[in-house]
């Protein structure tokens, strides 16, 4: 297996006719349902266009499986442009693959080498049980938001949007945190399957904004409580989550979450 992916980036405008198709060996995790045993199944593809996206490569494989009367590989996807957070996949041991700040659906096959072997596994964590094959249930994230990841603002009750100026840099920091797409790569890449990066991004976004102050303490206590209930691990500050995050969410948010939580414990209402 090659590990020199990053040097393999094709920076030049490669003329179309020179593009060589790739032969690949895939080891794909197949699991019928949450309760069944899973295993790797090996597939060989010998005509992968370098212009395909990773998911299109799986589409092609699936079409072939259907033609053979076999069940295609189930995987989550929707927008296919790196914003909905639906796609997952752990590719050669790395959630969303080896590229930085990239989702699985944004990977293109020209970044792989002819003859390469690729392992494809689901995002793994107890809190993300496998639904089927590569599809996992990330409902835990929704439940964490339901516990407190909001600002209570009834339609009709809002003051004029410019009534409360928010300094440009504060708004930017809030936006940095809000950029999280909820894909769960932080959990999948964390050795402890911790959800701290996700929760911290949410807490930070709302705690930074003046609108979020009224519920500040209650929010962080409730969200952390729910996070713990869901069975995620504890953070050991190794920052693998930040490195895997397709939106580059910083672990500085985790420090802020810790601060918010301890502050709420100490002096929250």
């Amino acid at each position: 297996m090659s590990s020199s992916h990053d040097t393999h980036a094709s920076h030049a405008a490669a003329p179309t006719h020179e593009k060589k198709h790739l032969a690949l060996t895939l080891h794909v995790w197949r699991q019928r349902a949450a309760t069944s045993e899973g295993k790797f199944v090996t597939y060989k593809l010998d005509d992968v266009s370098p212009d395909m996206s990773f998911l299109e490569m799986l589409d092609v494989l699936n079409e072939r499986l259907i033609a053979n009367g076999e069940e295609p590989i189930a995987f989550d996807h929707d927008c296919r442009e790196g914003i909905c957070g639906a796609c997952s996949l752990t590719i050669n041991g790395q959630p969303h693959g080896f590229e930085r700040e990239t989702t699985t659906c944004q990977i293109h096959m020209r970044r792989f080498e002819d003859g390469q072997t690729i392992y494809i596994e689901p995002f793994r964590a107890n809190a993300f049980p496998v639904v089927k094959d590569l599809v996992v249930d990330r409902g835990a994230f929704d439940r964490i938001i339901a516990a407190g990841g909001f600002i209570t603002a009834r339609a009709g009750s809002a003051p004029d949007a410019n009534a409360l100026p928010i300094a440009g840099d504060v708004a930017e920091s809030a936006m940095d945190a809000a950029a999280c797409i909820g894909c769960g790569a932080c959990v999948a890449s964390c050795k402890n399957a911790s959800a701290m990066l996700f929760v911290s991004a949410k807490v930070s976004h709302l705690a930074l904004l003046p609108q979020g102050q009224a519920e500040r303490s209650r929010r962080v206590l409730a969200m952390v409580e729910q996070m713990d209930k869901e069975g995620f691990g504890n953070c050991t500050n190794e920052s693998e989550c930040e490195a895997a995050c397709p939106k580059g969410i910083s672990v500085a948010n985790i420090a802020r979450l810790n601060r918010e939580y301890l502050r709420a414990l100490a002096c929250g209402d």
């Binding site: 952390v224 996070m227 190794e238 490195a243 979450l257 414990l265």
Partner: protein
């Protein structure tokens, strides 16, 4: 309020915060401990070190309270460390077949529980060596030097404090992050300070076994010429060797 305090023990962030505080206090103790130990290097045949030990003893019950506090900190840290580790293992029952990190984690961060347990074992030995044993007639300093001059003793102490150094190289920075005291340009200074503390404590404590052991070797070399030399004098040889 009770619930809030309970959260410190039960919630993920609470647990980690307790670990950080206990860990940082232990680091504080270690710094004092190291400074105190430096007196072993004084060129007075262990007199000032023994005087220092006697001074501590004279606090009487107060010393017991301090020791008890220290023990509690340690036990709490240890219990939480083990608990956190087990929980984290359990959070991913089905492991990855292939797992490749992105280079953000370090050797130290990946081995916290290992280095922690080594420190624990070391500490037990350490206490058995000097705290829970009857005081030698020639004083504590003599006991220490004797122990650290043995090959086994030196090895145990070097390994123990090296593990401590590795543990702390991640721990210090991590503790600040856990307590929410990082971010905004503080990360790099804290990480550097953490490394520095790890090196100072690790190398600092390692000096004792290294110096005494190499000194003892020299001494034993000399001893083969002059077999009747009392062990106590070994420290003299050592200090000479340092100069």
């Amino acid at each position: 309020m009770v619930r809030r305090i309970a959260s410190l023990w039960s919630s993920s962030i609470g647990k980690k915060a307790l670990m950080s505080v206990t860990g940082l206090l232990l680091i504080g103790f270690l710094v004092l401990h190291l400074v105190g130990n430096l007196q072993l290097f004084a060129d007075d045949g262990g007199k000032s070190f023994d005087a220092y030990a006697a001074k501590l003893k004279s606090f009487g019950p107060l010393l017991y309270v301090a020791e008890f506090g220290l023990g509690a900190l340690f036990l709490a840290h240890l219990a939480l460390g083990l608990r956190v580790t087990f929980e984290n293992r359990a959070a991913r029952a089905q492991r990855y077949a292939l797992e490749r990190d992105r280079g953000a984690r370090s050797f130290a961060s990946a081995t916290m529980v290992v280095t922690g347990v080594i420190v624990l074992i070391f500490l037990v030995i350490h206490l058995l060596d000097f705290r829970l044993r009857e005081m030698a007639p020639d004083g504590l300093a003599a006991m220490v030097v004797r122990r650290l001059s043995e090959p086994a003793g030196a090895l145990i102490y070097v390994v123990g404090v090296a593990a401590l150094g590795v543990h702390l190289s991640h721990a210090f920075r991590s503790a600040f992050q856990t307590l929410g005291l990082s971010g905004k340009g503080w990360d790099t200074p804290l990480a550097r300070l953490g490394k520095a503390i790890a090196i100072v404590l690790g190398v600092g404590f390692a000096m004792f076994p290294l110096v005494f052991f190499s000194g003892a070797k020299k001494a034993s070399h000399q001893a083969s010429l002059e077999p009747a030399r009392p062990i106590h004098a070994a420290s003299d040889v050592t200090t000479e060797a340092i100069r």
